[in-house]
């Protein structure tokens, strides 16, 4: 028997299709991912510019960027070596990399288009304009005018989008999905930014405290927009373990793992209705467990256990939470048939006959890929 929930009393306007909820989630997540990747690349390029005279080059930060993105296999398939140009190109413009900035913007826009009726005109215009600009700009143009400008455009568009969402989107269930996507992505990205540098914290590292090292840790903070906040928090110099502590444990900085996890946990309660002291779902239990660790562990505990291991475990927990929420609030069969479905949609011309379509190699991905950056895929 069907069990329609509250058939009376609840006006249809508050009903949210599962598909809509998920498009909101992925739209928000992809925008955040594009912004975070843009900042990461921007900081790395700046860092390189500051230290370009050094030889031998400081440890290959480009290599580690690819590792932290989790897309090393896709990268290897396309490029023999990781240098600044190739990595930037791959992470920013490569459409064959589902995690590239361009791919993310296109995916965010595709999700937004699917739910165009649900979001405000202002929100739609920001995403659509960004998409139009990127579409009409070639990679060569971007390199000619300097990639900084490109990254700034992405970051600004993301901020504008978040501000407009805040100002124009109703505080309903959709809002929770939007925030859930953003917070989950941020938490994940912060662990990855930190993971890029984990080996420096190994005891054998002997250049700790040097000029390059300090600059690198500043770069890590800037990658998470955290340098100013860190300085307010710690008056003294930038120390590796302090940086790690700040990005993991700060309960006030909005990009720290702790802060984001607390938000995720709170949103889970609302989305899954997990209000009991002992939650029913694995997702809610996993997020409580992670939150508990972040509330109780010290940075020394984490370093003893291994920073890398801790970060990878956290990433896995976040990924599992995302998967379970998708499963619980969405009842669709696997997306394997998406291509065919797309073809049928296109065949079905309203009052026009079907015409043959060429193979849809450049088919936009209309749904999210939770595994674009698989957990545990970073450096080993």
């Amino acid at each position: 028997m069907p069990t329609p929930s509250s058939p009376s009393g609840r006006p249809p306007a508050t009903v949210m299709l599962s598909r809509v909820a998920h498009s909101l989630y992925w739209m928000s997540r992809y925008i955040e991912r594009a912004e975070d990747t843009a900042r990461l690349l921007d900081v790395n390029l700046q860092f390189l510019a500051d230290f370009q005279d050094l030889s031998p080059a400081p440890l290959n930060s480009w290599e580690s960027l690819i590792l932290s993105s989790g897309a090393q296999e896709e990268f290897r398939a396309l490029h023999p070596v990781a240098d600044s140009h190739r990595v930037t190109d791959f992470l920013a413009f490569e459409l064959r990399n589902p995690g590239s900035i361009l791919s993310c913007v296109y995916a965010a826009r595709e999700n937004a288009r699917m739910i165009r009726d649900q979001i405000s005109l202002e929100m739609w215009e920001v995403i659509n304009e960004l998409h139009l600009i990127l579409k009409s700009t070639s990679t060569e143009d971007v390199w000619r005018s300097g990639p900084q400008e490109f990254f700034n455009r992405i970051i600004r568009a993301s901020h504008l989008f978040q501000g407009l969402t805040d100002a124009t989107f109703p505080r309903n269930e959709g809002w929770e999905f939007i925030r859930f996507g953003k917070m989950l992505e941020r938490a994940d990205k912060t662990t990855r930014i930190l993971d890029v540098k984990y080996h420096v914290l190994l005891p054998s590292a002997n250049d700790v405290g040097g000029a390059i090292d300090t600059a690198q840790w500043q770069a890590v903070l800037r990658s998470a927009s955290a340098l100013d906040a860190y300085r307010h928090h710690h008056v003294r110099e930038v120390l590796p373990w302090k940086v790690a502590e700040f990005l993991i444990f700060s309960d006030t900085f909005p990009r720290s793992l702790h802060f984001c996890t607390a938000q995720v946990d709170d949103l889970l309660r609302r989305i899954l209705g997990e209000t009991a002291a002992r939650p029913r779902s694995h997702a809610a239990r996993a997020s409580r467990r992670l939150l508990g660790e972040l509330e109780s562990l010290s940075i020394n505990d984490v370093l003893r256990r291994g920073l890398h291991e801790f970060l990878v475990d956290s990433q896995a927990t976040l990924a599992a939470i995302s998967d379970e929420v998708a499963e619980t609030t969405m009842f669709y069969p696997a997306e394997s048939s998406l291509e065919d479905q797309q073809q049928q949609q296109q065949q079905l011309r309203e009052h026009a006959p079907a015409v043959r379509r060429r193979a849809s190699a450049a088919a936009p991905r209309a749904v999210g890929r939770p595994d674009a950056t698989p957990p545990g895929a970073s450096a080993t």
């Binding site: 058939p7 609030t329 669709y332 479905q341 949609q345 450049a362 209309a366």
Partner: protein, 484 residues
């Protein structure tokens, strides 16, 4: 230089909407105020407004998808800033004709799915109906909600050399384009705000409201908050913008097939809080894709069990299933007869003279004169499967002649249609381009016609094909309260 300072060429073979001849004195009365305005408008300013309108369309995502393009590119529908203007009295006649026509077509559908008197009386050959691709015998003797088959109709009108309005075709399945009618108006309001106030243009914005009312008319009477949804094939469909637009305007959810589920012959949508019942579906999916258990089994766009629920009367569909049989290009030829048969009235809007390849005499005529006729496949649309004899090569004519001879039931021919011309901004000056008109007719508790419609324009010089897929654009359509 102003917008109409360059000479404008009329063509005696075609009716021109704005000019009786190319001079300022030849401007028709209902266009005079527009002509004054354009006469004072420098080209540079006009160009700026045009650019602003185009970029607004693009930014707002008012686009359609081009299929035979490798990337499934979204394009804006080219928009011409010179409106098409229809005086009030002229419109009233069009309106009456459209209402009459839809009324008769609905009677026809009701008849052929029940008593089939029209076939028994020999008004329409039974074979034409019973053998038609879109005739759904599964729905014989099925009582559609409120007795209405076609809730949303788009009828294409053209004008002959004397300016008489003729019906070119009826679209009784999922006619599209109403969103462009509304967006075009919004664009014109932004481009020429003052002109509207002085002109007395009737608003088209009530369309969505009327459509919602027509849909609610189908909902169970006792229900306070009926579940009304718009069913779309999905984001890759060419008309997805329109689906979103209308759903947003009506404030109803837009759903895909996978959002719906049928349990015990009742339709529900999957929401984050469970299943919610659905009472009325405005479907923008063709019959064939609606339900894989009844029609195309490989359809992934439809909802398994939907037809069963519809048959059980637990959900209403707009439009109903099987309406395509009446907008068939062959049945088209019989519509004037149907109006006389069902309503006992003379048709207010005549058809274009049509020859049926299935009738031996007509067929001979078509085969002998194919180079002077327009030949159309009965079930194709969008300007495909069509031969324009006078413009075609010998090979093309020969190919169509063979096709018609092989499969006469599938073809009709018409005298070359006379599309009127309207001044259109092309190549930096006003030039005459051919246009048609698709008004939108809604059937709820009564039949209403939105004052206006989609005027499509063939932007290529001399072209008579206005379809967006074939290089067509559109114009705003102004129906005046008065006559000037």
């Amino acid at each position: 230089m102003s917008v109409i300072s360059a000479p404008y060429e009329t063509d005696s073979g075609f009716f021109d909407e704005m000019f009786t001849d190319g001079t300022a004195a030849g401007v028709r009365p209902h266009y005079r105020r527009l002509a004054d305005r354009l006469g004072n408008l420098p080209v540079t300013e006009f160009d700026q407004r045009r650019a602003a309108v185009d970029s607004a369309f693009l930014r707002r995502g008012v686009t359609f998808t081009v299929y035979n393009d490798a990337q499934g590119t979204e394009r804006i529908f080219p928009f011409d800033l010179i409106p098409r203007i229809i005086p009030g009295a002229e419109w009233r006649r069009i309106e009456a004709g459209l209402i009459q026509r839809l009324h008769a077509l609905n009677c026809f559908l009701d008849d052929i799915y029940h008593a089939q008197k029209v076939l028994k009386d020999g008004v329409v050959p039974a074979a034409l109906v019973l053998g038609a691709k879109h005739f759904r015998r599964e729905f014989m003797n099925f009582k559609v909600p409120r007795g209405i088959y076609v809730h949303v109709c788009g009828t294409d009108l053209i004008r002959d050399a004397q300016g008489n309005y003729l019906v070119l075709e009826d679209n009784l399945r999922c006619p599209s384009g109403a969103s462009y009618m509304i967006e075009n108006r919004a664009a014109m309001r932004r481009a020429f705000p003052q002109l509207f106030e002085s002109y007395g243009v009737r608003p088209v914005e009530g369309y969505a409201e009327q459509l919602l009312r027509a849909l609610l008319h189908l909902a169970p009477e006792h229900k306070e908050n009926p579940g009304v949804v718009l069913l779309t094939p999905g984001v890759h469909n060419s008309a997805y913008f329109e689906h979103c637009f209308l759903a947003r305007q009506m404030g109803i959810p837009i759903v895909e097939g996978r959002d719906l589920v049928v349990r015990e012959r009742r339709v529900y949508m999957r929401t984050t809080t469970g299943l919610q019942p659905v009472d009325v579906i405005y479907r923008r999916i063709d019959d064939d894709f609606l339900d894989p258990t009844v029609f195309r089994p490989d359809s992934m766009l439809g909802v398994p069990g939907l037809v069963n629920a519809y048959r059980a009367g637990t959900v209403a569909l707009a439009n109903s299933i099987g309406t395509g049989v009446a907008d068939d290009k062959v049945i088209y030829a019989y519509v004037p007869k149907l109006i006389r048969y069902y309503l006992g009235e003379e048709p207010i809007l005549p058809n274009v003279a049509t020859y049926l390849a299935s009738e031996p005499a007509d067929r001979r005529f078509i085969l002998d004169h194919i180079d002077r006729l327009v030949v159309k496949a009965a079930n194709e649309a969008g300007g495909y499967g069509m031969l324009i004899g006078p413009a075609a090569t010998k090979e093309e004519c020969a190919r169509f002649r063979a096709q018609v001879a092989a499969n006469p039931r599938n073809y009709i021919a018409q005298d070359p249609i006379m599309l009127s011309r309207s001044p259109t901004w092309c190549g930096g000056r006003l030039q005459g381009r051919h246009i048609d008109l698709r008004p939108y007719i809604l059937y709820g508790d009564k039949i209403t016609v939105t004052p206006g419609g989609l005027t499509r324009v063939a932007l290529r010089r001399g072209s008579l094909v206005v379809n967006s897929s074939q290089g067509g654009g559109s114009k705003d359509t102004w129906v005046l309260k008065g006559d000037e």
